[in-house]
Symmetry: C2
Subunit: 648 residues, 2 copies
Amino acid sequence: MPHSVSYGPTVPTPQAISVLRPLPTHAVRLGTGGLLGDWQDRNAAATLPHCVGRLHAYGNLDNLRRVTGDFGGPFAGYWFADTDVYKTLEAALWELARSGGSSEFVTGTAELLEKAQDPDGYLNSYFQVDHRDRQWAELPSSHEMYSAGHLVQAAVAAARGDAHAPAAQQILAVARRFADLLVRRFGPDGVDALDGHPEVETALVELYRVTGHRPYLDLAARFVELRGHGLLGPDSRFRQRHYYQDHQPVRDADEATGHVVRQVYLAAGAVDVAVETGDTALLRATERLWESAISAKTYLTGGQGSRHRDEAFGDPYELPPDRSYAETCAAIGGFHWAWRLLLATGRSRYADEMERLLYNGIAVSTAIHGTAFFYSNPLQLRTGHNGSGEDAPAQRLPWYSCACCPPNLARLMASLHTYTATGGSDGLQVHLYASGTVTAGGHTVDVTTAYPWDETVAITVTETTQAPWTLTLRVPAWCTDARLTLNGAPAGVTSPHQGYLDLTRTWQPGDQVQLVLTMPPRLVTAHHRVDAVRGSVALMRGPLVYCLEQADLPRSLSGNVLEDLELDPGRPIDVVTGAHPIAPVTLLTPVHVRSGPDDELYRPLAPDALAPPPTTSPAAVPAIPYFLWANRSAGAMRVWIPLAPQKR
Amino acid sequence: MPHSVSYGPTVPTPQAISVLRPLPTHAVRLGTGGLLGDWQDRNAAATLPHCVGRLHAYGNLDNLRRVTGDFGGPFAGYWFADTDVYKTLEAALWELARSGGSSEFVTGTAELLEKAQDPDGYLNSYFQVDHRDRQWAELPSSHEMYSAGHLVQAAVAAARGDAHAPAAQQILAVARRFADLLVRRFGPDGVDALDGHPEVETALVELYRVTGHRPYLDLAARFVELRGHGLLGPDSRFRQRHYYQDHQPVRDADEATGHVVRQVYLAAGAVDVAVETGDTALLRATERLWESAISAKTYLTGGQGSRHRDEAFGDPYELPPDRSYAETCAAIGGFHWAWRLLLATGRSRYADEMERLLYNGIAVSTAIHGTAFFYSNPLQLRTGHNGSGEDAPAQRLPWYSCACCPPNLARLMASLHTYTATGGSDGLQVHLYASGTVTAGGHTVDVTTAYPWDETVAITVTETTQAPWTLTLRVPAWCTDARLTLNGAPAGVTSPHQGYLDLTRTWQPGDQVQLVLTMPPRLVTAHHRVDAVRGSVALMRGPLVYCLEQADLPRSLSGNVLEDLELDPGRPIDVVTGAHPIAPVTLLTPVHVRSGPDDELYRPLAPDALAPPPTTSPAAVPAIPYFLWANRSAGAMRVWIPLAPQKR
């Protein structure tokens, strides 16, 4: 059984300048039947075993067995293939702490890692067998510290779970030996060097939090400070310092840029360093960077990365829906970053972003059955898309040659409950709404809701201390009409901080709070500088982005392609519940079909071109939540829908 | 002095089913002071010497000297670096035929190639020294036949110029030895194999045309037929058969796809094969393929390639202006393809496309001074673009690590005059208008025009035979009001084929024809499926696409960014001549500046969102020809301009 005071990812020390405090992993339980709880269960039942199976099938574990001499075949996959093992191990450890279950993969992997580790602490199956001469020699591209970071994060999960289990102790010891090697080699007495792919920073801070060993924190802080001084080499014809975020010191940077996963991982690590060292200037720098990304380089789904080339942020407002890269790992990294900023500042915008990512940019990456995944997550798929291959498939694939995303999903989902609420003896803050129970500082609440399908969240106090405490409920920025009642009567609340409602009182068991977050369908437009979606709107309801999918075209439109539909803003959008094969709630969307003599790709602007074009008789198409698309036959999809010109 | 009956690229044999016949290279002379003539002169004076200099500086010639034992350093550049030598050599040979001048580079290179060639005819400096074991072993990626093809094309230029010059004979002999090797190795008695990069097909047909040696034509036809049967390997995770156009037989393909340069080179070769073998089905297939590209996968500039990834065509209607790849070599290949289809069919659409490419997609790639180049040619550059590196620079660069484009430009420009007209004893067809003289079948005309700046083309007959003949003049599809006079009176013309006017008569020296192609500024819109430019218009005048560039914002707008301008279609666009530092003719474009509370990236569609937003007082900005952008300080540019909502 897991340890009784286990914690999830990201637990600032008591000395940290963080505003909010995470809760122990068992202080939050997500109920079954809710979306988040279902995702956790699906992860445990399907995704995690699938990942373990693929590690066997794709040679990741054999790569480590080559090091121990137990496998004689060739190295398989990318040079950072060990990280898939580490992330899956981390996921398995969170899952073990959450729900128990089999520890076979954990135990076996722990033994394998201990056996494969070099006496000095080094561990990397790519460099230990075939490429000893290149060890530490190619840091801009080798991912050696990135890989070490993921090992450390698995060890943190081990230490925060059932820390006394032999496997947990084994994993922690292996990770510490590697971390100690990093401290010796790259610490203040070592060389100035950086890994081309950030990750180790946040891992080292977390290891410090688990062990109290200050040199880990200091090394993380050192890596953050060393970045931006050209240690990764000069700009070259194909690889610029921006790509690695090595063009500018982190505390000076004011624009999110380069490879997205690297940027968000680095920023998350910088927040960790900032809160533990009390470095408010660094914290503010990460907020500034976040603002730059959110204000001009983020998709409606929370996804980031506008270019397949370099898996990179684009220029400001460069947000093509059809070629959005929006890598799954970037969305997960963005979630981690936002969570750290939420803890550090208590600002609701970061919880808003976590919610947006969770229900859209992250959720979309996994198929309904939990064993197929998108790597990149476009907001549009065109009719006639050539969908095979890994770059931009029309459907989710079971695995990828670079399989970073699926195990990353597994570790997030296994620890998802720990991100939903924070608190302490003075109160309890609910950030993400889901059925379940939450306990903090001796008070417990039951949450009952069908959110995000339904707008009502019912909260019942089941345990409470005698002293007054504050129940804090987030009101998402998308909600312009939130209604709160206490035991059936309008509640007297204070809103000392934007985006949250505070209910402070001496609570009685049985007290009932009801929050209604009204969810009318919304039409959303983008900033006029986002050329790619000019003249189009997106449909949202609550936190969910909706989309049109070819499979939902009614029979009357079956001869049409999705690209010819235009949304008619003059007719209402109906919310339909329980009528769709895969979507619990759909939005029945009024459309016209654009017709007319449109054969030419380019033509002179006709005098009447700004008037409504010829359209067929009106129709309606059910829009489904974006995260559910591509679970039926492959076909066109779009989030942004052209607006039909309105009659004058 | 060049040979008296020299020809340019692409000269179908008398037996070919081609409708039109190219003229000898000296039958067309472009006058100085006109745009095309100036480009040719700039090419001779600046671009070609620049290319020769870079071949020395970047090691391309030293690579060949490694083969002969005259250079001991390492191989430099890509494995297909020889092709830069061949294309520059071809350019120098066309230039020598056109204007004479120094033959030093030609002579020296001819000797070097002869010395470097293997006894069996093989020639490739990458594989001859370090990689003998890989020779012919990696055809999907080795570019060996692609490289051979460019050698052959240089030899064709040698044979069509001063064929009796020793250097010309040397080059032709080298190329024939290599071509003979290809015939032995890959001909009907050899193996079934393909190069991953088409090019050798068109080269072999041209070599057949020059030599009359049928096996070259047969091998080209064989390569065209072998494609589309999986010889280049199965689809893989990262490389699909589409990429090489090996997914479908050429004669069955109905959609342009994959790597653009490969697609257009292959198609050009297929036209050559078709006309020489009388294969009308294959010819029709290439027309079908062309139509698929033009109708849904071509930028307004004629550029093709919507994705940086794989340098590829996108899905139909995927045409982002900011991430247009529109590689220079693709535009040149498209020009070659269109020229071959024009000769084969006589249809004006192909000449229209040559014109569009020439003045836009091709012209834009070269800086005013002729020694800096774009590799990819975007239709938009955003404010805040991170412009360093070779992928998407904000300004043209002097050279590229993959330097395919600059020497490709040089060989096109050196032979440009040969593409402007066709003819024979029965008549003379003018396809591209430029000042100069054209002679065909004993009749000569002088052309005087400032086209494309001015709309008037004056043609004077200076020599004529006694028999009647037909002067055929193209009326571009963009022109809806063409006015023709003969000796000052409205001319009686016939238009037996769309897009051309025929004047048939017994001509007298001194007869004057005047064609006025009226050029009012045009606002152009795109097909409604082109999401990326919805709600925007482009400005054109005559064949020229125009653009707005940050450098042209008037002082009153200097605090604004280009992205906030909207075109006001309610006010007129003035044509301004002679008032701009680099553009002879500008279009003074009425704009509004969009202002208002637009800080949020996404926001609910406001009830009044479809009404005009707040704008500043109206202003006007000179639009310049697209091909002239980025010749001043780096800054934003856009071809597609958002339309301001009109008052109701």
